[in-house]
């Protein structure tokens, strides 16, 4: 899948590049509205990561231009430090697929990209197998073989996110942010998420030992598969 990163901050663009390349994406860069416009006009992208505050104009105009092109199915994720509620609403209204406020975690970006991919292209099956468990993303359910495991909404989110970012340590903060969004940015307790993970693991281990669900001491969690 090819991704266009429209971002004038070179440092950030390079980090996203590195991370996404590692995940197997093909990356192109545009640092101004002008070059981005040209690239969008010429190529189809699976994803356009769009910064709103570009040196020569507003990213919203690029979004508008893209939506005026025919037969385009490029998914757009807006990345911005503006973070105003209005921006978020306006971006989604104008056809952006998602919106991430800076600073964001690259894991979170990846999770959003996966979610959009599934929603948009229906390329992957809605089911992910984890050992003997199956996660159904559409129905938001988890099954062990044929038996349904009763997970709360948050436990499902946590499990899903960890599986999506498999073999990678996910910090508590990252996990908290993913599950609760920005609400907890104030006075967040770092062990906030531990209760849920504990319950989740208890529910899973009723069926089979889950030693692949690892707690990384003082940092967070990792699902090794």
């Amino acid at each position: 899948m090819n991704v266009l990163i429209v971002e004038d901050e070179k440092g950030l663009a390079l980090e996203m590049d590195e991370f996404l390349s590692h995940e197997g994406f093909t990356i192109e860069h545009a640092r101004t509205k002008k070059t981005a416009g040209e690239k969008i006009f010429v190529n189809n992208y699976d994803f356009i990561l769009l910064d709103l505050g570009l040196p020569d104009g507003d990213g919203f105009e690029l979004l508008k231009a893209l939506k005026n092109l025919k037969d385009r199915n490029d998914a757009v994720i807006i990345l911005t430090a503006r973070g105003a509620v209005d921006d978020r609403i306006m971006g989604l209204e104008q056809g952006a697929d998602d919106y991430l406020a800076k600073p964001f975690s690259l894991n979170e970006l990846l999770a959003r990209i996966h979610a959009i991919t599934r929603r948009k292209h229906k390329l992957e099956s809605n089911e992910i197998a984890v050992k003997d468990f199956r996660i159904n993303i559409q129905n938001r359910t988890v099954h062990y073989r044929e038996e349904r495991i009763n997970l709360t909404k948050k436990e499902f989110e946590i499990f899903n996110y960890l599986v999506l970012n498999k073999n990678r340590v996910i910090s508590r903060i990252n996990l908290t942010e993913h599950v609760w969004g920005d609400v907890l940015e104030i006075n967040s307790d770092s062990n906030f998420v531990d209760v849920h993970v504990k319950n989740l693991r208890k529910k899973l281990s009723q069926f089979t030992p889950v030693d692949w669900f690892e707690t990384v001491r003082s940092i967070g969690y990792r699902v090794n598969i």
């Binding site: 950030l12 600073p103 340590v169 770092s190 849920h196 003082s218």
Partner: protein, 441 residues
Amino acid sequence: MKLQVKLALYNTLTKLAIIVFTGLLILFSLENITYNHITARLKDKKDELMKHLSSKEITQILNQQQSFTDYNILKEEYIFLKPILYRSSRQTEESFTTARRTIEQTTDTYLILTYKFNFNNRSYLLEIGDTMDAVIQLKQTIKEFTLLMLFVALSLTLVIDLVFTKYLLTPFYQIIDRKLIRVNDPMNFDYKKVTTTTQDFELLDSSISTLMKKIADLFILEKQFIANVSHELLTPISIISSRLENVLLQEKLTEDSENKIFASLKTLNRLKSIINSLLLISKVENLQFNKNDTIDLKNIIAEVYSELEDRLEDKGIVFSNTMGHAYHFQGNNSLIHTLLFNLINNAIKYNTKGGSIVIADALYSEQYILEISDTGIGMDNEQIELAFNRFEKLNRHEKESYGLGLAIVKSITAFHSIRININSVKDKGTTVKLIFSKESI
């Protein structure tokens, strides 16, 4: 006492003093003048009498003396002559007295000239009296007139003064009301000039406006500064955090470096939280949120509850919602959500294990009150005062607190004109009251 009343009273009192003074002066001088006048007349009379005095006349007068005889019908004057013990060495002596005399059954106050003299080897005492009644009457009339004048003038000037000072001071009171009392935020200051022809008030008005403009400018500058700084800081944080995440992908990292990088990410996250909180406050204070949502408090509390359910469970806190009114108002849904989230989250955070949280409400004709009570560690009065300040951490051992939660609460309540009231007893618990006044919304 109001300035207007003071001025009117002062004017009245000075007028009172002037009238009393003039009245007294008139009375006093009138008495003197008439007294002198009468004594002069009495002297003249005596002199005339003495000039034409003869034995015959004395006899005539003495004969008439059986009763006091008047010279005139009005009994204003009388003459009285009486022989007294003869002394050849007697000097003529004359004196004035005021006394009451009865002449033909009528008693009056007279000013009397008493004159003792020798005539033809006899001594006589002559009394010539002139009634004082006229004078006393005049005095009485003047007294009454003065009093009446005093009263009329006083009431008239008091009313006029009140009306005039009211007219005069109206701009002043307008300035006080519009520019001082009703201003609780320099951003909402009314710069429109108060119409007045009084120079001093113009000066006062413009001085207050200038001062307020300076304060407002500083306010705006501060807010812009916070917004800009916060905004500019977010991009570098974003870069560093992405870079650290990428470093974590490297497989040859030692556990120690991994831990350090996660710790750094945590610190960055903390920085981000502080900046986002400051940005939120600054946006609320800059009125960058709209108030177009119809807020259903019950609904929002249910949402917050579902978000915090697990924490409540974890701490074994009993949460009971006894809200009995469906109160709706116009506001910003996400801000009210943040407000209630922060308050209930605090109620959990500072609660004891197995404690309780009660949400209650009350509806009055003028206001609606929402109460959040907990059985937590509580605060003393000093802590309550500090609680709303930015970066004020009451519990210094609380590592994850940035001291911005209640500052956010404060800005959101101010934005929605909600009054907030904290009652707390140390080690007993805290009750936060949100008072929604119906007028302001």
